[in-house]
Symmetry: C2
Subunit: 345 residues, 2 copies
């Protein structure tokens, strides 16, 4: 099969790799129908993180089950499934608590000898604990499938950020980051009943999606300029701030615009190891809560709302490529020509 | 009157300073009957923080009201009062929410032209918003007054740490720091119903107070050694960790021993600007919550429990000095010969 392989900064290639097959009785093999390029993939694409050359890429995938291991009980051949970005056993202490990302036997796509998402097929270890089945009535409805695809990561991650930030009915929320996660965070905050959602965005195309998703205000500019605008608009900061990037600049902004006693929810991969302004957190009792999103825990409730037409994260997928177009998709996201790229292998 | 003045690292002196008098209609003047030296005073004593030479020191004080400004309504001449370590108006948004430390008109002892705690008397600005009256029936009961004195800071700070860490009935808690705050944190965690309270302490005298306060286990050693012991004892970390120092080493330890999905509560002044291991917080969804404790908010409920004999933080006050003994008290705390020093001016 064809799959995407990392070779170095700015260098991902689509190559022939071995077809997946069942290796453990808990495995299934899926034909990948939809996948994504993630904003966090840009960390290695830009050389900030340095995986081993030869690592397979992609961690957001949906597909159809083609082979089923002997010990798999919940997943059947022919099921259409959503694979979240972490592989989990579904049975350990942390999985039972919904914290699938801290699974005691967790594995990663492209690591641990696994296939990854940006390819034509994948072996899925611990399939019962990892996959979520899409209701059969969705069938081959490509519009709906595109809407469900962000459940593999960004929609659940935005929701985790909103929950972490303590967003509730009536909240005033500031969202730092206008990538797919930030935009989905706006959608999640609106879904949770936030009254005022201020999106920091300086790009008209993204701000437009943000407004469509429920942003009531858009603040342009960066750094001090944006901070001062937001502090003025909120008379001293937002009680709930959502950090959706993970860079030094965005962390600094998020901490600066949090209201005393408020919370910074964060979900952006802190690949640059940003330093945290602990002095301000301490002085103003601002909570820092979040982390890698256990999106599997959120898929059932978010999928129900997508199927019911209550929310639709599809607009973050602004570009579609086939398997051979994956490198062009990376380049487009790197150059911010695309918010997020859908792959139809 | 006599009061303590900072001149430089290792150099605090008791000097003659002007007697306080009413300056604003919201002021009262108190004769200080009891005060403390705080672990956080060691930050300037050791040269980590650098106040202006000439700054008056001390922020934990109790006394008797001697003069009352015209606009003071809740405090009367002759009242025995507790002054928390922040001066607050009691009426702003944050004070109404109990976050007195973020008061929009907040002032500090020894700053803002104010007297400070380690002296014979003090003008108290915004007295109605700052002071708490001790019930008259306590009278001159010195045993009880010593038990109430930690409400000015360390008992409320330990309680804030426990609340911030999410301690509740049945919790497993790890307490990092065996100073007065850490020990009061043990007492607070027990009061909130924690089932297992593991205190990190390598000093027998402090560990003994910790056990008296409710620690079920004491872990000796520092750094990796202590971390590994605690991870083994808890099979992977404590859901609630209380960071009660503020140094790089203690922050590193606290983050390392938190269980995935758990919370690090912190109240130690981060004077050294410790860097936070954001990678672990992110990867394991560990919340960082806390800050400077709004102790005034906690004084009523904690005082009630002290008066009822349910808790008694007095054992943290292991040394008593008069006003001229304050420099010796600093030296004793610096050399860890005293846990915390009570001043009877």
């Amino acid at each position: 099969m064809r799959a995407t392989v990392y070779h170095g900064p700015q260098d991902v290639r689509v190559e022939n790799v071995p077809d997946p097959k069942i290796e453990q009785p808990g495995d299934v093999v899926i034909r990948i129908t939809h996948a994504c390029i993630c904003g966090s993939d840009l960390w290695f694409y830009r050389g900030v993180s340095k995986p081993q050359p030869g690592t397979r890429t992609g961690h957001e995938l949906m597909g159809i089950v083609e082979q089923v291991g002997a010990a798999v009980h919940k997943i059947k051949k022919g099921d259409r499934v959503i694979a979240p970005f972490v592989i989990s056993d579904g049975t350990c202490e942390f999985c039972r608590a919904g914290l699938f990302t801290s699974c005691l036997h967790g594995q990663s796509w492209g690591g641990d000898g696994n296939d990854a998402g940006q390819g034509e097929a994948a072996r899925v270890p611990m399939a019962d604990g990892t996959l979520i089945v899409v209701p059969a009535e969705v069938g081959d409805d490509q519009t709906m499938l595109k809407s469900l695809l962000p459940l593999t990561d960004v929609m659940g991650t935005g929701h985790h950020c909103a929950l972490s930030a303590g967003v509730r009915a009536g909240s005033t929320v500031a969202v730092v980051g206008d990538g797919a996660v930030g935009l989905c965070g706006v959608l999640a905050a609106r879904r949770l009943g936030a009254e005022r959602i201020i999106l920091l965005s300086s790009r008209d195309d993204r701000a437009a999606i943000g407004r469509q998703f429920g942003a009531t205000d858009v603040v342009t500019g960066k750094g001090e300029e944006a901070i001062n605008k937001l502090l003025a608009m909120t008379d001293g900061g937002a009680a709930a701030v959502m950090e959706c990037v993970g860079s030094q600049e965005t962390f600094d902004t998020a901490v600066a615009i949090a209201r005393p006693g408020g919370t910074v929810g964060y979900v952006g991969v802190p690949a640059e190891k940003p330093s945290i302004n602990i002095g301000r957190l301490f002085g103003e009792n601002i909570t820092l809560r979040g982390g890698v999103a256990p999106v599997r825990a959120y898929i059932p409730e978010l999928m129900a709302d997508i199927l019911a037409g209550k929310i639709d994260p599809a607009p973050v997928l602004t570009m579609t490529v086939d398997i051979n177009g994956v490198p062009a998709g990376y380049a487009a996201m790197d150059q911010r020509k695309a918010v997020k790229v859908m792959i139809r292998p």
